[in-house]
Amino acid sequence: MRLNPGTTATARHLWAIVGLCVVVLAAAFAIRSEYDEGVLVLVLLWATLSVAWNLLSGYSGLFSFGHAAFWGLGAYTVALGLVNFGLTPWLGIPLAAVVGGCAGALIGYPTFRLRGHYFALAMLAYPLAMLYVFEWLGYQEVPLPMERTAPILYMQFDDKRAYVVLALALLVAALLVSLWVETTRFGRALMAIKQNEPAAEAAGIDTWRWKMRAIVLSGALAAMAGGLYAVVLLVVTPDSVFGMLVSSQPLILSLFGGIGSLWGPVIGATVLVPLAEVLNAQLGDKIPGIQGVVYGVAIIAIILWAPEGVYWRVREKVTRSGLAGSEPRPRSAPVMALPQPRSGQGDLLVLRGVGISFGGLRALDDVGLSVQDGSLHGIIGPNGAGKTTLFNVINGFLRPQSGSIAFAGTSLLGLMPNRVCRCGIGRTFQVVRAFARMTVVENVIVGAYIGARDDRVAEQMALAALDRVGIADRADSMAGGLTTRELRLMELARALVPQPRLLLLDETLAGLGHEDLDSILSVIRRLRDEGMTVLIIEHTMQAMVRLVDRFTVLDHGRVIASGAPAEVVRDRRVIEAYLGRRWTDRVSETAAGDI
């Protein structure tokens, strides 16, 4: 997905949608056999489900193995509406959208607390649970009655082409919604979530809200497609609409066609649905089962060639051959005003008595910390001391069971991480996850959303941040080509975009060689000189000692020492916990040398 493709790309997509309509309608009228029309309708319906799925899972990376839940609810809404209440599908399908959206909200609300595999597997359970419930309720077979008096009123057409038009309408609706998501900050928020959800949250994105919006939209679209499926199939059974085959279909089609792209699901549906049907037709009665084998082999073969889908692979080849030009846009010098250097008055961040336990483990115990405005404050301690936990508590990812956290006078307790960010706290993360195929500025821009009203301002902010860390010249390079040092600086820039007052750096220097280390150190120092308050977790003792104004040393969740570097490294408790004698000697040498 291209970030901020600009109006030209959006226009291109819109024209492509128009083109799709033309092609489909032409095909519908050219096709003579009812059977082929029927296959076309199914291609469009499965494509709609896949686009709906992609809206949630492709863009955000939260894989749903349970979209059959929405499809099935949509199908049953229409079927039962017709059978029990005489409700025409013309109304039933929009009703299905409402049902699907509500289901999305109900399902998302508890399930979004989960991440990664847990989320995917939890989603797996919903449609299967529904399957059993519907069987228990007695809805094993719900045939849609044939309306002989006013069939069109009940969406019963003799001419299959009417269904092609309806299915196409749904697909276009889904594509338009998808396009809208892609080109607005909705899409970028989802992408940021996909890239690194905690980082997105820490950068000010209300991840929960965006995820909920995505699943509601996705559920509504999927349910409508399911409703039209019921009208087309004329029989609804729990297995045919809630089964595993339904849940895996959008997955297969999107992954095949190109995950996280607008057209991927459509490509997947256009190729695989007819392929499966042709295999059934040609081979099904000759050697029963062979069609499944061929299909399975085809899927595997293609995915090995194009691990993220045909769309991306083809695009890659096209871009490499230079056919698609990605013109680097001329960059004007960033015109963002830097925050004024502060006078260094008072404590910006104050923690008192912070404690948190996990099960039996006391991760932080009565931790107190004062970070002076404008200072560079280091947190050190042996592995497992609770340093990252401390950051997570400050950031809002964890809620302490005791104690207080005040930032510029306001309490941070109980605030969601995106709110903490808006208060003016930025954070980097240990594991830098970059979108290798996107430019540096695109990777970094996610931090701009809380401040910027529009995309140009956001871009300016991103460029300013890149300039601040010194890699503005790499703004339009692919992130995949960056060195480790540049990646770290990019991550730093991302945290800087919303212009925080306090920067939390989580092991930014870990694993760096000597030169890279010095380079990044000078960037950090420069930030501090510009008035930024920095709280940094590190292991690299030598660097830290030269860098920071103050240390706080943690061991087993407790603060065991606090103060100027020279004092702290001599503190016996600290030496015992962490340092070795060699460091003490080194420090006294360096300290002597500095003066």
Binding site: F63, P110, T111, R113, L114, R115, G116, H117, Y118, A120, L121, A122, L124, A125, Y126, L128, A129, Y132, V133, E135, W136, K194, Q195, N196, P198, M244, S248, L251, I252, L255, F256, I259, I287, P288, G289, I290, Q291, G292, V293, Y295, G296, V297, I299, I300, I303, L304, P307, E308, G309, F358, G359, F429, Q430, V431, R433, A434, F435, A436, R437, G480
Partner: protein
Amino acid sequence: MPFSLLDFMQALAAGIMVGGAYALMCIGLGIIFGAMRVVNFAQGDFMMLGMYVAFYLTTGFGVLAFLGPYAGPIVGAFLAGPAVFAIGWVLHRFLVSRVTGTGVTQAEGAGGYAQILVTLGLALIFQNGGLILFGSAPTGIRTPLSRASFEIGSVLLNEAKAVSFVVAVVLVAAVYLFLTHTRHGKGLRAAADNSTAAIYMGIDVDRAHRIAWSLGVGITAVAGGLLASTQSFQPYVGFDFVIVMYAGVVLGGLGSILGAFWGGLLIGIVQQLSTLVLPYQLQNTAIFVVFLLIVFLRPQGLFGRLSERT
């Protein structure tokens, strides 16, 4: 209470024995998921392979007929393990390793995509290939044990299932010993815990993954082989078990092999005990409800670790 103590004891006994079979399946899946973080949609179909291997060894080609109707099925089930282990090894070497493991970039939150499709593709191939090779008629291993039971008080314990349960427990103990006391086993656990660190420690993570994969499908195949004498099956039987396996593994805790055992056992018990209070038809819904509850209230499961590295 609408059910008697006897009903309860009987359901509990049934749950434990069904759970034993699930537990063994779950361990197989747990090893794969724990070590490779791969969602293997074809796990149920490897189990199906195990069922057919056991069947052909005992009844089909009668290779083990000399062992008689009691020992034959058990040995057949055991032999299904190495057979499917070998199949898994080859599959991993030439196919699965291309989409999993350390070689696959982890950029863009991706990495998991190709895996899913490959395992889904494998599932399709196994099921339909199975239809072509084995035919559609449901089949099973006949053993007099499946109709006999031990009587403890008034509670009847199905002999075939009890024997399977004992065999499963023995196998689990063996796996546990393997993982905790052998070099390969420890390497596997290290690779599961933190593959990057494991590489730095000199552990051949790719090989560890291959062992994990093959072991995982092999163990599940043995579970299938044991089931082959208590129920009949056809090539599409795998699908029915996938969700049970995943529920068990998540319940026990992703990454914890022993957790997978307890998870599977618990799923079996929940499934059978739920019939005492819920309509029988909602038996599997009860599993899902428990599954979802666990996932929400305690996502690390019974024995899993609390956090994954950010």
